[in-house]
């Protein structure tokens, strides 16, 4: 009973940022409708150069994930502790992971975040560089420097991920991730036992549900963007296609399972 009350209270607290974001959007739309906006208002995230603030934010995200990843790795002993050393502590708390395994799990997750953020940085920097060749030299220097910094970040993040995966493989040699395999994730999944596969299925289904929700939110945001600024068809079409593929794969898999 008490646990149920705690869960609903936690859920309510988790919804607060959503309500705040909803309030901000409603407030922004209503104030934009009432107030006359200056024509020279700059909506790009910029201070000195075009989008410099956006790139600073991405760089900060990459830096934070790198540092956090390194800290998590440092907290993970280089050699896996004997299972019996952790067993008593874990069994008392019905935990699925030892503290070392948890640190390693965090490092794996953060290295993935770092790789995604740094690749997004390179993609954006490359797009900006390609689309701003005719800008003044100072801006060109910024876009070029930004591109070089993004490439360096990718190299560091990939090296960090490789170190993290090597540590994972040392911990779990029976289900090692093969970096040379084309189907690394699939091969890794095949090595899991039934309980671990069940965890992956459950996580994948929750991720699927969250994707459906986020694609809907993304589409609503794109529509809002079109209403407030310029008509932007591409993001809406792209999100619709991704949404259809997401649902299509789900229905195809359920149909195939029923057919079998």
């Amino acid at each position: 009973m008490n646990q149920t009350a705690n869960t609903s209270s936690k859920k309510r607290r988790m919804r607060l940022p959503l309500y705040a974001a909803g309030g901000a959007v409603v407030g922004f739309i209503s104030s934009a409708a009432i107030t006359q906006l200056p024509t020279d208002l700059n909506w790009t995230l910029s201070v000195y150069y075009d989008y410099d603030l956006l790139f600073a934010l991405i760089a900060l995200v990459v830096l934070v994930t790198m540092i956090w990843n390194s800290i998590s790795l440092a907290r993970t002993p280089s050699v896996r502790p004997a299972e019996d050393d952790d067993a008593a502590d874990m069994e008392d708390h019905h935990s699925l992971m030892s503290p070392a395994e948890r640190s390693l799990g965090n490092a794996m997750m953060l290295s993935s975040f770092g790789v995604i953020a740094s690749f997004a940085w390179v993609a954006l920097a490359l797009s900006l560089y390609a689309s701003s060749r005719d800008l003044p030299q100072s801006s060109n220097l910024f876009t070029l420097g930004n591109l070089v910094a993004a490439c360096i970040a990718v190299i560091i993040v990939v090296v960090l991920q490789s170190v993290t995966i090597k540590r994972y493989n040392r911990y779990f040699p029976d289900r090692a991730l093969d970096l040379n395999s084309r189907n690394m994730k699939k091969d890794h999944f095949e090595k899991l036992d039934e309980g671990e596969k069940w965890i992956v299925y459950r996580a994948a289904y929750r991720s699927f549900q969250m994707m459906n929700l986020l694609l809907g939110v993304g589409m609503a945001v794109s529509v809002l963007y079109s209403i407030l600024y310029n008509f932007a068809a591409f993001p809406i079409v792209l999100l619709s296609v991704i949404w259809m593929i997401n649902l299509g794969v789900y229905f195809r898999e359920t149909y195939r399972a029923q057919k079998q």
Partner: protein, 75 residues
Amino acid sequence: MEELHNHVRELRARDRLSQAELAKLIGASRQTIALIERGDYSPSVVLALKIAHVFGESVEKIFELKGGNIDESNR
């Protein structure tokens, strides 16, 4: 609704086996044993039979359905 309950934890304590040792004996991971003991995961028939074999008990003695409308007379 019926729920699957199990006595894996008690039997493991009886036989002085750690989760890791039991997992090794049945060819599963320690995480799977922890999931089963917590009641989060219902093992496959194969795994249930392997667990029963390790403890030298029948599957029905280790795993049982509780709650719901299980009426012995309807069996």
